[in-house]
């Protein structure tokens, strides 16, 4: 058990280290950041001063070490745009993103688990096929198209829902659905497969044989056991998908979260913010993955025995 946990932790740390290194290398490979950003209207002395200030006159190796030291003590530099620490700029975007993420995950679970169970029970009838078509559509329709079509329908034509911002509960409806499309597709499919696996096993036949009602067999014995797999999928898949989805959805709906900040920084070339934002989100995803892995191993002894 301990070696298994250690391996998960080492892997997470190595991945985070790799992300930090890659973002550093990518940023430096694209040229001198001062020239890229402040190309015109900068005097030669001013340029020299800035280069010294940001220590760009040192060797790449030294810069890299300095960057790592800064990263370890939580210093990632100042935003080019509003001259505040990037950590501060990103931190104030955290709560709106978290709200949208939470709403999407709750919505996804409420929709996907019943759908997945239905698809497993009625896998040979049209109900099962219909559910699978919905799940398939979730993959094939990109979230920005889902968002655009919803905006056209519910905001411009029917005038029911607001498009911009996160002021009221109504503001949550379209962004949440747009974020959830892919998540629902993924989770429904996994719930169905996990249920099919469990429902084919001997203890389910035993439960039926001893006269339990079908609802109890499916929900208590079936979903109860499939649940572990399903929860791990929520942790592993959803974190990455949601991070990618929030970038698109937040910028469409002008949601004041990290995703919108990243797109704006990418277009406006605010590299310090973009660099730290990517690192922060990637670290969050890796951390969620590691925690899920550990929880999964704790919940199911077969897994940790099989893997250590």
């Amino acid at each position: 058990m301990i070696p298994y946990l250690l391996r998960i932790l080492v892997k997470a740390v190595v991945t985070i280290f790799a992300i930090v290194s890659v973002t550093f290398i990518a940023t430096r490979m694209s040229g001198n950041p001062i020239d890229t950003f402040l190309g015109d209207g900068l005097t030669a002395e001013g340029r020299e001063e800035l280069i010294r200030y940001f220590q760009l006159d040192r060797s790449l190796g030294e810069q890299y070490l300095a960057f790592l030291r800064g990263a370890l003590s939580g210093e990632f530099g100042l935003s080019f745009v509003d001259r505040r620490p990037v950590t501060e700029v990103v931190a104030e975007r955290l709560w709106p993103s978290a709200q949208l993420l939470l709403a999407s995950v709750v919505f996804t679970i409420l929709v996907s688990i019943p759908l997945g169970v239905l698809a497993a029970i009625y896998r040979k009838s049209w109900v099962g096929s219909a559910v699978m078509v919905i799940a398939f559509a979730g993959y094939a329709v990109p979230s920005f198209i889902l968002a655009i079509v919803m905006i056209l329908t519910f905001s411009y034509w029917l005038n029911w829902l607001p498009v911009v911002g996160n002021g009221t509960a109504l503001h949550f409806i379209m962004p949440t659905i747009a974020m959830s499309g892919v998540l629902i597709a993924a989770l429904t499919r996994f719930t169905r497969n996990a249920m099919l696996d469990v429902l084919g096993q001997d203890f389910i036949r035993t439960a039926r044989a001893k006269g339990l009602g079908e609802a109890r067999v499916v929900l208590r014995h079936g979903l109860g056991n499939a649940g572990v797999t399903v929860i791990s999928v929520i942790g592993l898949q959803i974190a990455g998908l949601a991070a990618a989805g929030s970038v698109v959805v937040e910028s469409i709906f002008s949601w004041p979260g990290i995703g919108q900040l990243l797109v704006n920084s990418a277009i406006g070339r605010d590299y310090p913010v973009l660099q730290f934002g990517v690192i922060a989100v990637a670290v969050a995803v890796v951390a969620i993955n590691a925690v899920t892995d550990i929880a999964y191993a704790l919940a199911d002894p077969r897994i940790r025995l099989a893997r250590s």
């Binding site: 094939a140 999928v233 797109v263 990418a266 995803v285």
Partner: protein, 291 residues
């Protein structure tokens, strides 16, 4: 991390058993490929030609329809259908190029990992795990912002996007094949690793790779459209389906056709290509069916 992620790999199911759906989808995919290939011949107008006298005209069948502009014109009087056809051409070209690059990188690394074992394999598979763990859209944002959104950079980004899937498939197939007697026989007969790979392993892993390639095309279409929609992919005035949707957003209340035409093409493309991928999977090697 690896083995839970294994079950979490994007693996599409078949939608229904209806052959009709598959036939329609395959026909749609072929028509779209043909439209992309012959866009210069079938597009009624030059996609960049502006006509300021007929701006924001609606599609056929509506008031103020400008004859010949079947799905209307945009804010500069450019023909939406022609732009969408050229956009489709560019989007599909990028998707194929990206899928080929991904195949080249992932296939090579997967082959090495499967044949060499040991620390080489461990390193490559750790890279695969990392690629899976990091949300790629964010990496794409960073790279495109740093290196500019030229088509070269974009193709490379799209190529890196899916390499890990090929690597996993090739490695798994190679390991499975490596245990089979005919590979052992080839080795015993004195075949080197390169010879074994080319003549005994590659012919046996073609079909799973074709399936993965098809699904990758669809995934890359989505990624490219999304990046172009955000303004970080294909740059104006060159039309891509995603950037048409992105730029047309401002005119949605009054001229929704600017957005809906390319959006419909994107959805038709991703749907039909994914179903095509499923169909190929069904037809591929029997061993694939239970994976």
């Amino acid at each position: 991390m690896a083995s839970i992620a294994d079950t979490a790999a994007p693996r599409r199911f078949r939608i229904g058993q209806t052959d009709l759906i598959q036939k329609i989808a395959i026909a749609t995919a072929l028509i779209l490929f043909a439209c992309a290939l012959f866009a210069p011949l079938i597009a009624p107008y030059d996609p960049l030609a502006q006509s300021l006298l007929s701006r924001l005209r609606p599609p056929m069948g509506f008031d103020r329809y400008a004859s010949g502009h079947y799905t209307g014109t945009d804010e500069l009087g450019r023909d939406v259908l022609s732009r969408a056809l050229y956009g489709l051409r560019l989007t599909l070209t990028l998707a194929f190029a990206g899928a080929v690059i991904g195949l080249a990188i992932g296939g090579t690394l997967g082959l090495i990992a499967g044949l060499r074992r040991g620390w080489v394999e461990d390193t490559i598979m750790s890279l695969v795990d990392m690629q899976i763990a990091i949300p790629f859209t964010l990496v794409a944002l960073l790279i495109l912002s740093l290196f500019g959104s030229s088509l070269t950079v974009l193709v490379l980004v799209l190529g890196i996007a899916g390499w890990e899937q090929y690597a996993r498939i090739v490695r798994a197939e190679v390991r499975k094949l490596g245990a089979l007697p005919f590979i052992e026989a080839a080795r015993a007969a004195g075949a080197g690793p390169v010879y074994t790979a080319r003549h005994h392993v590659l012919p046996n892993i073609v079909s799973p790779l074709v399936v993965q390639f098809t699904l990758a095309v669809s995934n890359i279409v989505i990624l490219e459209s999304t990046l172009s929609f955000l303004g970080l992919g294909v740059q104006p005035p060159q039309p891509s389906l995603g950037s048409m949707v992105g730029l047309g957003r401002d005119y949605m209340p009054t001229a929704p056709w600017i957005v809906l035409t390319p959006a419909a093409l994107i959805v038709a493309l991703t749907f039909s290509v994914q179903i095509l991928g499923d169909w190929l999977r069904d037809r591929a090697d029997v061993r694939l069916r239970d994976r």
